[in-house]
């Protein structure tokens, strides 16, 4: 049960990390399924993968790309990076949830996932701000953020271009949500389990 020393209750850092990891795992699970469903239904044979190279709006954020980098980066910097990536997805997820409704015969499962991911992403952001507040010695860095200007491309008249814009956004969401999930699992093992998960 929650720890309530002399009436002031507080969730432990371990508890906060366990919930954050469970949520990041779930968000990536949904993002992955949504990408696969879209890919199977709308992208077969269109060669989108070759064009999707280097198309993510968060590409400018230097994030760890292998185990060594993920282990060497200071945990406060990695936490700020996670916050930055999450914030950078707030805006596109709001529009994704509404624009997906306009895709021809968009299956209910894609629509539902877009809304669910948007909600859970906000929830994970709330949790990460709480974790950073606990872990951070200094002020919470609000500066890491990359703007998204992809809305017009989701509304293009030409179907192929519009579908590619969706494909690219879902491809990037799958990639970034996987990064966040992986980094949180590394941080949990480092900060909570002394690298002995």
């Amino acid at each position: 049960l929650p720890i309530c020393p002399n009436g002031s209750c507080q969730l432990s850092l371990e508890e906060l990390f366990d919930r954050a990891v469970k949520l990041s795992h779930y968000i990536h699970f949904l993002s992955s399924e949504m990408f696969n469903e879209f890919d199977e239904r709308y992208a077969q044979g269109r060669g989108f993968i070759a064009k999707a190279v280097n198309g993510c709006h968060t590409a400018s954020l230097t994030t760890p790309e292998d185990k060594e980098q993920a282990q060497q980066i200071h945990h406060e910097d990695l936490l700020n990076l996670i916050l930055g990536v999450l914030r950078s997805w707030n805006d596109p997820l709001i529009h994704l949830a509404s624009e997906v409704q306009r895709i021809k015969e968009a299956p209910e499962t894609i629509l539902w996932k877009a809304v669910e991911i948007e909600e859970q992403n906000k929830r994970l952001l709330e949790g990460m701000e709480k974790i950073v507040g606990r872990v951070h010695s200094g002020e919470i860095g609000n500066d890491i953020y990359t703007p998204w200007d992809g809305l017009p491309s989701l509304q293009l008249a030409d179907e192929d271009s519009r579908l590619f814009a969706f494909y690219n956004l879902l491809h990037c969401l799958r990639r970034d949500s996987h990064k966040i999930d992986n980094y949180l699992k590394v941080l949990r093992c480092r900060l909570i389990h002394d690298n002995n998960c």
Binding site: C4, G7, C9, Q10, L11, R19, H25, E126, G127
Partner: protein
């Protein structure tokens, strides 16, 4: 006289997204008494009032998604007030993750089969409650089943982890069994109610559908 202090009975969340608390009024001192549910969140001074007294019926407060956070612990009290004064309940601490109580499993099937050595065994299958199924991976459920001969006293309970099927071998031919299943979130949370009772009769000598 002022009303006696009410008691917060319980708080429950069906799916880790919303939750509801119920309280029990005490004696109202013979005067019209109204109740106010107040709460604060860990690490915040601000005190909020119940967002919705209606949805979950009398003496209840319903917290919708917007008002439900599972990153914090709620400190909840209920104040009873009449013209002579008021009285406040003891504080009730709520961590949403610990009060998740799912609905029972559904689509339960029982099928009698015969193993190669002709002994009968029972195959049970079931599905997670609809709400949890939609959120697989977010709400991971564990299951426990219980069965007993109809006229028997003692239930035999078997924990089956996250599986949604189970084989029961040691059954007595000629007996009629009652079977029920319930579920609970892994780690924290509470067991659901038991599913409705289901009956299966183990024939004394039965033919397997080939």
């Amino acid at each position: 006289s002022p009303p006696e202090k009410p008691t917060i009975v319980k708080c429950r969340s069906p799916e880790k997204e919303t939750f509801t608390c119920w309280w029990k009024p005490a004696s109202d001192g013979g005067l019209p008494t109204n109740h106010t549910l107040l709460y604060s969140k860990e690490g915040e001074e601000k005190v909020y009032e119940c967002p919705d007294y209606k949805t979950a019926g009398p003496h209840s407060c319903y917290f919708d998604k917007k008002h439900t956070s599972f990153w914090t612990i709620y400190n909840i009290t209920v104040r009873a007030t009449n013209e002579m004064g008021s009285n406040v309940s003891d504080p009730h601490y709520v961590d949403v993750t610990y009060i998740v109580q799912p609905d029972p499993p559904v689509n339960i099937t029982l099928e009698l089969k015969k193993s190669i050595n002709r002994k009968p065994y029972l195959v049970l299958t079931w599905s997670p409650p609809p709400l949890a199924d939609v959120r697989s991976g977010w709400l991971t459920l564990e299951y426990e089943l219980r069965l007993k001969p109809e006229e028997g006293e003692e239930w035999e309970t078997i924990f089956v982890g996250q599986q949604t099927q189970c084989k029961m071998f040691s059954l007595n031919p000629g007996k009629r069994y009652i079977v029920q299943i319930h579920c609970k979130p892994d780690h924290h949370g509470l067991w659901s109610e038991w599913s409705p009772e289901m009956y299966i009769e183990i024939p004394t000598d039965f033919k397997v559908k080939d």
